[in-house]
Point group: C2
Chain length 572, copies 2
């Protein structure tokens, strides 16, 4: 394609509302254009990238034996009422009323629709397993849409759903899809990690997230550099310390902490490490009971893990008033010593192994040091893993490594739904034994449009986007300097362009009548991987200039060999 | 692809609600599945057809210089308020309120959104003309969705929008798009006709519809077999009779018509042709005036034409009560003789040239014969072309041909919008003279999903769908009879399948363990253009059977030549 035929609209500055680098670069490069909050038009250049992602996704889904179909975006409320999700999905679901006052939604996901299809079309074990996917526009009414296409309201998703006669069959397809997802992100040229994940609101058991690694990622991931262990921090298990609790050596005493409420400040005042402190977090269980959770001062609460402790599903944090009413002490000085016997204490594994620790005194402006379980306070009611892992923690896979942390952008998620939807919607099949049984189900999502933003977060420099080869809107930019002034430049550029087009290379000929610097800046901002510059000066010697977008030095190459040179670097 | 890997779900019977043949066949062949009123899932087989249509459309749009982008489906109300269409589009627009109580719609069309993009991205005459298109899911809340994908609520549309510095430039692009549309429908293998059309609610001037010709079409088209004239009957001009009004030869007299209210019945009673009768249609103008329109008894009123008569915009038909109150006569016997002087009479050109005609007497159970203008009643207040043309009418292009009528399904529509939207939304550019001017605009739609239904209406027989080559889900079906029983059949079928796949032929290998008759019936219902049957009997002599879906006789061909034979018939 020629730039004279392509709508290019690059900008020097991004609008102020763009917070994230990928969002800024997509707007500056003219890949997308904002229509409203969380609503973006994919401009011609951006759509080329989106389609390349879609194409890789489709190719791997087909190879995995999934069949493409296309379900409606607008879904009747009745199906969602069958699973009960009409009422519990929450305000992210965009509800719609049609002219006949019937209720619909703009589908945020399609479990109900595909299960409705499966229950009428798949009747026998002979038809199973079956795996269907679509690449489709979805809508989730985010309360605060941001980050451009990374958290848009309307977005393109690949969603697949599989149906099975047995759990074993589900596991087989799950493994195939896991592998297909790995191939998708590998082919797209992205650094990614598959991590064990919580199943969250979709339900079911068994789930992996696929994350593109990027500093700006919203998710914190734990991984082991020496094994294949990786998990979302929400799920990563923290072990009890290898060394058991030491015997008490200090006696308990008050520390005067007039202004110190944070563990780090108390530790600094005393002159010890923060790992000698214990913080108490006041909670209210769903049953309304006041609960104290104990964590080491430098650790953070993992709400997912705590929620799995008996009685703690749907807990909430206590208000300041509730804290004062149960402990007669303001927040910042509370602790587990001397509290009413009916207050349940849940200690993290690490805390349970501590002795001679420092904690709040339950008196304003005082902490306690030399505190020991069994002597100064009862043993905790519950001891459990309720903290987030930290860098250096023992890897829970038992292979002896230690964990590292990194940030990721979730771009894929696969679930073993089991029979959650099939049971709710009576999606049954006739078994070989002629009995009826609910189908096992899996579901598999890829955030197609989000991948574009995530790829940029991972691949950019100060000049703009640095596309991985498979996602680049064009492979090669031929910049013709003086196309409208020099017959020689025009002839050479047109010829190389024709050669590359004939060879099936995705080439953009920049034939605009612009300053060279402006053309280079555009091609770099847009992120085309390979650039050839043709100008009068070099042409006199039959020479053109080549530069790779990713950190390459300029190379002089012969015009006659330019095509084969480019094919070489593209295939490399 | 193999049928063992493809979800096929054919049915003997279509659901009762499917009225139209294409709808029945799409459901029976398992191309689509109903989710709700006007909502259909494109099943894997149907999606293959839809994608083939999309691909041809994209290819011709790109060749015409249009650039693909993708706008959001969900559109903010504010843009529609700028053009005033938020309030006038009517209940077909699906309005949505988001969690922040802001108003949106599920876009039924995208003039407002693209004009918003153009006004901020296209600033100078140097950037014009520009032509953008998308292939996208749209929603129109039809009051009575029916005919499957032909009048669905959610559907796939290709919509293009062009922007110009001058009307001449618009006309050039309009001509290019007209030609591109012709190429699309030609490549799809459809019999179609481009007809001059009314611009309707979208507004602007200059418009053509593209119709797939089919008996079940909702639109009536007039065309001239001896010239290139074609128009929607809404628009086709009817000329005044070549012979002027003859002098009166009869005197006016009452005819006793006790039960005859229809012109044809009155004519039969009298023993003359119905073309000797005149019917009066009672109307109320927007100003509230009672009006009589006069048409020849065998002609029908063209409401579009009548609406263009001075004072008759937004007319309505009079109620029986209004007729009785103005004429003191029940409907069925009304006529233009002896009515109050303030009742306006609009006569069709044909009626104005009649003499000695028969019409209602304005007395219950009586008509009049021998009626003549100027003698028995005043000349009409207005004489105009207000009827639909009929077969045999003189072609209005002046080339001497006569019109024929046919039915069509509208699958494309192109408009010269001119400055309707650009003026309402201040979409201006800086001219070469450094002045500001509203852009000229064109818009160009293709009902991508509707084409699939229209193609079936035009191409089917008693056994099912007969796809044109470019739309067929597969080009060739290889039916292996006894694939699971005969090693020889399996080997031959697998080998031919591999040969065809390697040659890039879109082939479906039917490797199911079904009765041959059932496999043939499925392949015929699905409509695959070419079928090869491999069975033990022929294989012994190295023979396989070929049959073309479209009316072909069975041919025996050699297995070794099957690939080249098939390539030959496909390319033919």
């Amino acid at each position: 394609m020629r730039t004279s035929q392509l709508f290019i609209s690059t900008k020097k500055e991004a609008p102020a509302e763009a917070e994230l680098l990928s969002h800024k670069l997509m707007l500056r490069a003219g890949l997308i254009k904002r229509l409203g909050s969380g609503l973006y038009t994919w401009m011609p250049l951006g759509l080329r990238v989106l389609r390349k992602v879609e194409s890789v996704v489709r190719s791997e889904m087909n190879a995995a034996g999934a069949q493409e179909l296309l379900m409606p975006a607008v879904q009747p409320a009745e199906l969602w009422q069958e699973t009960g999700r009409w009422d519990v999905f929450g305000p992210q679901m965009l509800k719609i009323t049609d002219r006949h006052e019937r209720s619909f939604c703009f589908g945020p996901t399609h479990e109900e629709v595909i299960t409705d299809i499966a229950r009428s079309e798949l009747r026998s074990y002979k038809q199973l397993p079956a795996n269907f996917y679509q690449v489709q526009t979805k809508f989730r009414d985010e309360i605060r849409p941001r980050f451009g296409v990374m958290r848009a309201r309307e977005f393109v998703m690949k969603d697949a759903y599989s149906f099975h006669a047995s759990f074993e069959s589900l596991q087989q397809t799950y493994d195939v899809m896991y592998s297909a997802y790995s191939k998708v992100f590998t082919r797209l040229g992205l650094q990614f990690r598959a991590v064990a994940a919580d199943t969250g609101a979709i339900g079911g058991s068994g789930s992996h997230e696929f994350h593109v690694l990027a500093d700006a990622g919203e998710d914190l991931l734990a991984y082991c550099p020496t094994s294949d262990y990786a998990a979302n921090v929400e799920l990563a298990e923290a072990f009890a310390p290898a060394v058991p609790r030491a015997a008490a050596t200090e006696s308990m005493r008050d520390i005067d902490t007039p202004k110190q409420t944070a563990c780090a400040d108390v530790a600094a005042l005393v002159g010890v490490g923060v790992e000698r402190t214990v913080k108490a977090i006041a909670l209210i269980s769903a049953a309304g009971d006041f609960v104290l959770a104990l964590l080491r001062g430098d650790h953070s609460l993992n709400e997912v893990k705590l929620g799995k402790v008996d009685g703690m599903a749907d807990f909430r944090f206590a208000t300041d008033e509730e804290i004062r009413s149960h402990l007669a002490c303001p927040p910042g000085f509370i602790g587990p010593v001397g509290i009413a016997a009916n207050i349940r204490v849940i200690a993290d594994l690490t805390v349970a192994a501590m002795s001679d620790f420092i904690c709040g005194a339950n008196k304003p402006k005082f902490h306690l040091s030399g505190v020991n379980f069994g002597r100064d306070l009862p043993e905790p009611n519950v001891v459990a893993d309720i903290r987030n892992v930290v860098s250096g923690d023992v890897c829970p896979d038992g292979k002896g490594g230690t964990l590292e942390l990194c940030r990721g952008i979730e771009v894929g998620h696969i679930f073993q739904l089991r029979t959650k939807y099939s049971e709710a919607m009576n999606c049954v099949f006739v078994t070989e034994q002629n009995t009826q049984q609910a189908m096992e189900m899996g579901c598999y999502g890829i955030g197609v449009s989000r991948i574009v933003g995530a790829a940029i977060e991972q691949n950019h420099d100060e000049r703009g986007i640095v596309w991985p080869a498979a996602m680049a809107p064009f492979s090669v930019a031929v910049v013709a300097v003086g196309y409208h002034k020099s017959e020689a430049v025009k002839a050479a550029a047109d010829d190389l362009y024709a050669q590359l087009m004939a060879a099936g290379v995705d080439v953009l000929l920049d034939d605009r009548n612009e300053r060279p610097g402006s053309m280079f800046a555009d091609m770099e901002l847009i992120g085309i991987p390979h650039r050839v510059t043709i100008g009068d000066k070099g042409l006199a010697d039959g020479i053109v200039e080549y530069v790779a977008r990713r950190g390459g030095e300029m190379q002089k190459i012969s015009l006659t060999q330019a095509k084969s040179f480019l094919q070489g670097v593209i295939n490399n």
